[in-house]
C-alpha cells in the first residue's frame, strides 16, 4: 500500500468552557473531538457522517490546522503539521484546501470572481502577471462548468449552485492533494445538488486528490464515498468500506442512523428504529460508551467501560462491546 496522504493520530480537541472568575460559575469544557485515528490514501474519498454536534466539522478543521488540536497529531504526506511554524504551515496549505457549506457566506461580496479564485494563486506566487492569472482563472472556471466570461462579476450575481462551483474552483486553484468539503451540498436544492456532486466526482477522478466529505445525508454519502466514518459525540463509532457500512453495519448507532433516513421509495431498505431521547451534550459525555444512554442493546458494561474502535471485519472497525452485523435487525 502506498503512503497515506493524510493520517490522524489520536486527534482530540477540547474547547475550554470559559467563565469562572469571581462572579460566574465556570462553564464545563466541550469535548468536541476525542481520540480520532484514521488515514486516507491518494484519490480516496472518506465521508464523515453524524448528527449536529458530533464533532465532524471540528475534525475537518483540525485536519487542516484551522484550529489547534489539544491532543494527537496530523500527518500530511508524512509531515506532522501540528508542529510546523506559521511559515511552514502556509506552504503546506498549498496541498490542503477546503470547500465550505455556505456558498453565500464564504465568498467575499466585494470582490470579483477572478479575484476570489486567483487569491490562492497569488498568495503562493503560482501565477505571474495579470494575463497569466486570467488565463488560469478561465481554465479553472471551465473545469467547474462556468463560462470564463463571468470572471469579472460579483458573487451576488450567482445562484447557490454556481457559487459552490466558484468555491470549488478556488480550492482547486493550487492543485491540492487533499480537500476537505464541509457539507458542500446541504444548502442546495435537490436538482442542483446532483450537479455539484457529479462535478466533484469528475474532478476527483481527474485530479486524484484525497477527499474528506463531511455530511449528514447518508444517501449522498453512499453515492460519493469509498469509505465512511460514523461519528457520535466526538468519537468515531464505526468506520469501513461503504458497502459494509450500509449492508452490514455493526454499531447500533450506525444502524439507527440508516434506519432513520427518509427515503423516497416505496420499499424501505431498513426497518425503522426510533432512538429514544436526544444526543447528550458534549459538555457532559456519558461514561463508558457515549451511546449507551440511547442504545437499545446497552448492558451494564456499556455504562462503565468505553469500547475501543476494534476491527470487526476486513477494513471495518466498530466501537461497541456487542458489535455484530445488523444487531438491531434494521435490515
Amino acid at each position: 500500500m502506498n503512503q497515506p496522504i493524510i493520517r490522524a493520530e489520536n486527534l482530540g480537541k477540547t474547547f475550554p468552557g470559559g467563565g469562572g472568575g469571581l462572579w460566574r460559575t465556570a462553564k464545563p469544557d466541550v469535548r468536541a473531538v476525542d481520540g480520532v485515528t484514521f488515514e486516507m490514501t491518494r484519490g480516496e474519498t472518506l465521508a464523515i457522517v453524524g448528527e449536529s454536534g458530533c464533532g465532524k466539522s471540528t475534525l475537518g478543521r483540525l485536519l487542516l490546522r484551522l484550529i489547534e488540536p489539544t491532543s494527537g497529531r496530523v500527518l500530511i504526506e508524512g509531515t506532522d503539521i501540528t508542529t510546523l511554524s506559521a511559515a511552514e504551515m502556509r506552504r503546506m496549505r498549498m496541498k490542503v484546501q477546503m470547500v465550505f457549506q455556505d456558498p453565500y457566506g464564504s465568498l467575499s461580496p466585494r470582490r470579483t470572481i477572478a479575484q476570489l479564485i486567483a487569491e490562492p494563486l497569488q498568495v503562493f506566487g503560482l501565477v505571474k502577471g495579470r494575463r497569466q492569472m486570467r488565463e488560469r482563472v478561465a481554465e479553472l472556471l471551465t473545469q467547474v462548468g462556468l463560462p470564463p466570461a463571468v470572471m469579472d462579476r460579483n458573487p451576488r450575481q450567482f445562484s447557490g449552485g454556481q457559487r459552490q462551483r466558484i468555491g470549488i474552483a478556488r480550492a482547486l486553484s493550487v492543485d491540492p492533494s487533499f480537500i476537505v468539503a464541509d457539507e458542500p451540498v446541504s444548502a442546495l436544492d435537490v436538482s442542483i445538488q446532483a450537479q455539484i456532486i457529479n462535478l466533484m466526482q469528475d474532478l476527483q477522478q481527474e485530479k486524484q486528490f484525497s477527499f474528506l466529505f463531511i455530511a449528514h445525508d447518508l444517501a449522498v454519502v453512499r453515492h460519493i464515498a469509498d469509505r465512511v466514518a460514523v461519528m457520535y459525540l466526538g468519537q468515531v463509532m464505526e468506520i469501513g468500506p461503504k458497502r459494509q457500512i450500509y449492508e452490514a453495519p455493526q454499531h447500533p448507532y450506525t444502524q439507527a442512523l440508516l434506519s432513520a433516513a427518509p427515503e423516497a421509495t416505496l420499499n424501505k431498505p431498513y426497518r425503522r428504529i426510533v432512538l429514544q431521547g436526544d444526543v447528550p451534550s458534549p459538555t457532559s459525555i456519558p461514561t463508558g460508551c457515549s451511546f449507551h444512554t440511547r442504545c437499545p442493546l446497552a448492558q451494564d458494561i456499556c455504562r462503565t467501560v468505553r469500547p475501543g474502535l476494534d476491527r470487526v471485519a476486513p477494513g471495518q472497525s466498530a466501537a461497541c462491546h456487542f458489535a455484530a452485523p445488523n444487531s438491531l435487525g434494521a435490515k
Partner: protein, 330 residues
C-alpha cells in the same frame, strides 16, 4: 365524493405593484379531505410555502396579494371572511407549525403559558383544568415528565423537544387541519424520525388532516398518502405517493426522483436536471419547466399544458406525457 375539508381552486398570488405584478403562485388547485395527509414538495422558490401561508391568509399584504382564486374550508370561503372571523379559525380549525421552533416560540414565556394561551383563545377552561390539559398535551407529544417541565422556557429544550412543544400548541384545540411547513428541516435525522412519528401518531389519535410542506420527498412519503409537486409557482403533478413513485408523469418529477441519491443502490453518476430553478415570475408564457426539460416540444414554449389524467387520482401538467403510453419507471 364527500365534500373536501380544504379546497383551494385556481389560487394566484402576486407580489409587487399591481401595474407590474410578479406572479409567484399560478392557478394552484389543492384539495385535502378530512383526516387525509397531503404533501407539497418543491425546491426553493417553487411557491410551496406561499401556498400554505395563503390558506390562513398569512402572506403579508402588501407586498403580496391573493390576486384570484378560492379557498374554502368546510365549505366556508376563507377569502371572503372578515379578519376577525378568520382569527377565530386560526388555531381552532386550522393550525400551523413552522421550520424553526425557536423563532416561533416566545423566549420569555414558559411552556405552560404558551400552550395555555393557545387553549385560552378558543376554550373556556379554569386554571386547574387548563393546567391539566397542558400536561395532557405535553404527554401526547412525548415530552417526558411533563409536570416538571411546565415552568421551563424554550431555551431549556433541545430543537426536537421545541418542535414537540410547537406541535402541542398546534393541536391544543384539536384542529381539523394541521399545516406543517418544513417541520423537520432544522432537525437531525434521528430527531426528524421522532417528530415524523409524532405527527403520524397525532393524526391517528386526533384524526387531524395534515398538509406537509417539504423539499424532501422521503419525508413526505413517511407521512402522506398523496403529494403535489410544485415548480415555479405551478402544481405540475398531483398523485398518490405510490402512483407518483411507480409512474411519475411530469419530466420534473421524474428528474427529481432520479436526481436524489439512494441509500440502497449505487450508480456511477447521478442524473442531473440541467440549468437552475427560474426566478419567481420570470416565466410568463408556456410551461415553466420548458428550458430544462428533455421532452420539450414547440407547443411547450407557447402554452401551459392543462392537467391530464393518468389513472385514478393522478394528474400531471405536461404536453409531452399526456398522450404518451404509460412508461414504467424503475
Amino acid at each position: 365524493m364527500s365534500a373536501p375539508l380544504l379546497n383551494v381552486e385556481s389560487l394566484c398570488v402576486e407580489f409587487g405593484p399591481k401595474s407590474a405584478p410578479i406572479r409567484v403562485i399560478n392557478s394552484v388547485n389543492l384539495r385535502v379531505d378530512a383526516g387525509e395527509a397531503v404533501g407539497i414538495v418543491g425546491e426553493s422558490g417553487s411557491g410551496k410555502s406561499i401556498t400554505s401561508l395563503s390558506i390562513l391568509r398569512l402572506v403579508p399584504e402588501p407586498p403580496s396579494r391573493i390576486a384570484s382564486g378560492r379557498i374554502e374550508f368546510e365549505g366556508r370561503d376563507l377569502l371572503a371572511m372578515p379578519k376577525s372571523q378568520l382569527r377565530h379559525m386560526r388555531g381552532r380549525d386550522i393550525a400551523m407549525i413552522f421550520q424553526e421552533p425557536m423563532s416561533s416560540l416566545n423566549p420569555v414565556m414558559t411552556v405552560e403559558a404558551q400552550i395555555g394561551e393557545a387553549i385560552m383563545l378558543h376554550q373556556r377552561l379554569g386554571r386547574a383544568e387548563r393546567r391539566a390539559r397542558v400536561i395532557e398535551l405535553l404527554r401526547l407529544v412525548g415530552i417526558p415528565d411533563p409536570e416538571s417541565r411546565l415552568k421551563a422556557y424554550p431555551h431549556q429544550f433541545s430543537g426536537g423537544m421545541r418542535q414537540r412543544v410547537m406541535i402541542a400548541i398546534a393541536v391544543a384545540c384539536n384542529p381539523k387541519l394541521l399545516i406543517a411547513d418544513e417541520p423537520t428541516t432544522a432537525l437531525d435525522v434521528t430527531i426528524q424520525a421522532q417528530v415524523l412519528d409524532l405527527m403520524k401518531d397525532v393524526r391517528r389519535k386526533l384524526n387531524t388532516a395534515i398538509l406537509l410542506i417539504s423539499h424532501d420527498l422521503g419525508v413526505i412519503a413517511e407521512v402522506c398518502e398523496r403529494v403535489l409537486v410544485m415548480y415555479a409557482g405551478h402544481v405540475v403533478e398531483d398523485a398518490d405517493i405510490r402512483s407518483l413513485f411507480e409512474n411519475p408523469q411530469h419530466p420534473y418529477t421524474r428528474g427529481l426522483l432520479r436526481a436524489v441519491p439512494s441509500l440502497t443502490d449505487e450508480h456511477p453518476r447521478l442524473y442531473q436536471i440541467p440549468g437552475s430553478v427560474p426566478q419567481a415570475g420570470s416565466i410568463r408564457q408556456g410551461c415553466p419547466f420548458y428550458a430544462r426539460c428533455d421532452l420539450r416540444q414547440d407547443i411547450c414554449a407557447r402554452a401551459m399544458p392543462a392537467m391530464s389524467t393518468h389513472g385514478a387520482r393522478h394528474v400531471a401538467a405536461c404536453w409531452a406525457t399526456q398522450s404518451m403510453p404509460e412508461v414504467r419507471s424503475a
